[in-house]
């Protein structure tokens, strides 16, 4: 077929995505960038205010600083916890044992429904002052409390909920583990390497591309955490779970400060892009790609 025909066919096939991309992604990105320099309430036309939104944000908006702090704390704890936890579970589930499907189902199931508002309802009950978590703690003589209603534990509860939903990260690790050539382990066993050594010398390097993928997406997703904070704690108590996405939501759709909210979105994008870029730069030193013939750090 002539190149021309191939071009046409190619664009015909990708046209659904391309149209959607131009209409619902590219154009909105440009518009949101413009709006971030304006004052816009949707009732009147946007008014150009230059850097006023950004100045306000970094100058005297305490909610901005607070929500940024909360979000960074959330990301800092929940991302490594989830990675560690899902890797450990994936290694257990990668073993060839009878009944493994049953374990996999039981362990994966909470993650399947974990993002839903229903689970937020459940969580709010369990960790409330009258929840059963406190009753269990009482067996061990630990005094319970309203985990969700105290400012110093509310965020921790949400981090725990986030970790409980480790399933999709775990499944990706599991897929990665299945691709590690068994010969490597056999050869290592012949050389007398213990399981500890095998983990650090074989499993971890071979899994590093998958680890990298999970790390990058985990950070990006955690920065956008919304439902649990919105439903379980409503950002409180005393803004201790006032995550960035919730702050942005309220600015945009409760106060209709569309210009300011757009500026917030761009700051979020800048943060996420910077962290992703750093991740990619640092990855040269620890991510191991087979095709490159081994450049392990």
């Amino acid at each position: 077929m002539a190149q021309r025909g191939r071009n046409v066919a190619g664009y015909v096939f990708i046209s659904p995505w391309l149209i959607g991309f131009l209409l619902l992604t590219l154009w909105p990105i440009a518009q949101s960038f413009y709006l971030s320099f304006t004052d816009y309430s949707m009732l009147a036309d946007p008014v150009w205010t230059g850097l006023a939104n950004y100045r306000h944000m970094f100058g005297d908006d305490d909610s901005f600083t607070k929500s940024l702090k909360v979000t960074f704390t959330f990301v800092l704890f929940s991302v490594p916890l989830k990675l560690f936890f899902s890797l450990m579970v994936a290694m257990l589930l990668a073993k060839n044992l009878r009944g493994m499907n049953v374990y996999r189902t039981l362990i994966y199931f909470p993650s399947l429904i974990g993002g839903s508002i229903a689970v937020s309802v459940l969580w709010r009950n369990m960790f409330g002052a009258d929840g059963y978590i406190n009753a269990i703690l009482a067996w061990f003589g630990i005094a319970g409390k309203g985990w969700i209603s105290s400012p110093d534990t509310a965020l921790g509860t949400l981090i725990l909920l986030n970790t409980w939903q480790f399933g999709s990260t775990m499944v990706i690790f599991l897929a990665g583990l299945k691709q590690v050539p068994q010969e490597l382990y056999e050869a290592a066993a012949v050389d007398g390497a213990g399981s500890f050594r095998r983990f650090f010398r074989i499993t971890l390097p071979m899994l590093s591309p998958v680890m990298f993928f999970n790390l990058v997406l985990g950070i990006i997703n955690s920065f956008q955490m919304f439902t649990a904070a919105f439903v379980i704690t409503k950002g409180g108590p005393v803004q201790s779970t006032y995550v960035y996405a919730m702050f942005l939501y309220e600015k945009a759709f409760k106060h209709f400060q569309m210009g300011y909210a757009s500026a917030l979105a761009w700051v979020l994008l800048a943060i996420v892009a910077a962290l992703t870029a750093i991740n990619f730069l640092v990855s040269r030193y620890w991510v191991f790609y087979e095709a490159e013939g081994g450049r392990e750090g």
């Binding site: 096939f13 709006l35 399947l112 994008l269």
Partner: protein, 276 residues
């Protein structure tokens, strides 16, 4: 001998861990039948099951029963799943098999959009839908699925198609099939397992996509199950038994999907390959 013993240790760890993970869900089953004063007990089964939690919860709102909210959500889901399945394979075939100008650039952009926080586009999108009078309708929720079903799914099927031997395409070309014919008769039947994964994930994710739903649906008449639950939780005095009963019902469709097509689930994600 040590191998056998270590096997049992692994089994034991797995059993304890599985129970720990699933315990809240099992407790939930029992709690949905509990009266308020037993709610704080870790015990699973109530002393006397209160089936009225279900019947009262079902009709918690004076205006509509949960039947209404469920049918709203299912209606939206039909559109979402149909849109994703219809368009994801098309787009993925284009990227995986056809060589056209700027393909590499577009594919790179596609992958980049996976990393784009939704917050960056959500405000202009809202303004756009508002300007054409589509806020408080299902269009903003359903329409995006007709644009390839999302970057993740396109990527997933691209990886899947790359795994199909090209000999099949070439044989069909020799037989005189056009690219459209190859897509329809060779590739589409082979990507069916991946499309099942797309359908299931689309269903579950849009069921749980609370952010989009709360943004675009404002009248109770159009509420989805998730929004109805949120209305329930915001009542003055929370009827925990009823609320937990209805929350539990709300995850039943996703759970059914999961058990129904479990095999597709894990293998479907595994086929993304990640290294490809």
């Amino acid at each position: 001998m040590t191998v056998r013993r270590s096997k049992w240790v692994v089994h034991l760890v797995l059993i304890v861990f599985s129970l720990l993970m699933i315990y809240p869900v099992i407790w939930w089953l029992g709690a949905s039948l509990k009266p308020l004063d037993e709610m704080r007990l870790p015990a699973i089964w109530p002393s006397k099951p209160m089936w009225s939690n279900y019947s009262d919860g079902w009709h918690f709102s004076d205006q509509y029963s949960f039947a209404h909210f469920f049918s709203n959500t299912l209606l939206m889901e039909v559109g979402n799943v149909f849109g994703s399945v219809l368009t994801a394979a098309l787009v993925a075939y284009g990227f995986a098999r056809l060589n056209f100008k700027l393909r590499g650039m577009w594919f790179g952009i596609l992958l980049l959009t996976m990393m784009l926080p939704t917050q960056v586009t959500i405000i202009p999108q809202y303004i756009l839908y508002n300007s054409v009078g589509l806020v408080n309708s299902y269009v903003p929720l359903v329409l995006p699925h007709f644009f390839g079903g999302g970057a993740f799914f396109i990527f997933l099927i691209v990886q899947f198609i790359r795994g199909i031997p090209r000999d099949l395409d070439e044989a069909a070309t020799i037989d005189g099939a056009s690219v459209y014919g190859i897509f329809w008769r060779v590739v589409l039947p082979l990507v069916k397992p991946a499309l099942v994964t797309v359908a299931i994930f689309t269903f579950i994710w849009s069921w749980d996509d609370f952010f989009a739903q709360i943004l675009y649906l404002s009248s109770v008449e159009k509420f989805t199950v998730a929004l109805a639950l949120r209305m329930f939780i915001d009542q003055f005095e929370i009827q925990w038994g009823q609320l937990l009963a209805m929350s539990l019902l709300s995850v039943v469709p996703s759970a059914l999907m999961f058990f129904f097509a479990q095999k597709h689930f894990v293998s479907g994600i595994a086929t993304t390959g990640l290294k490809g």
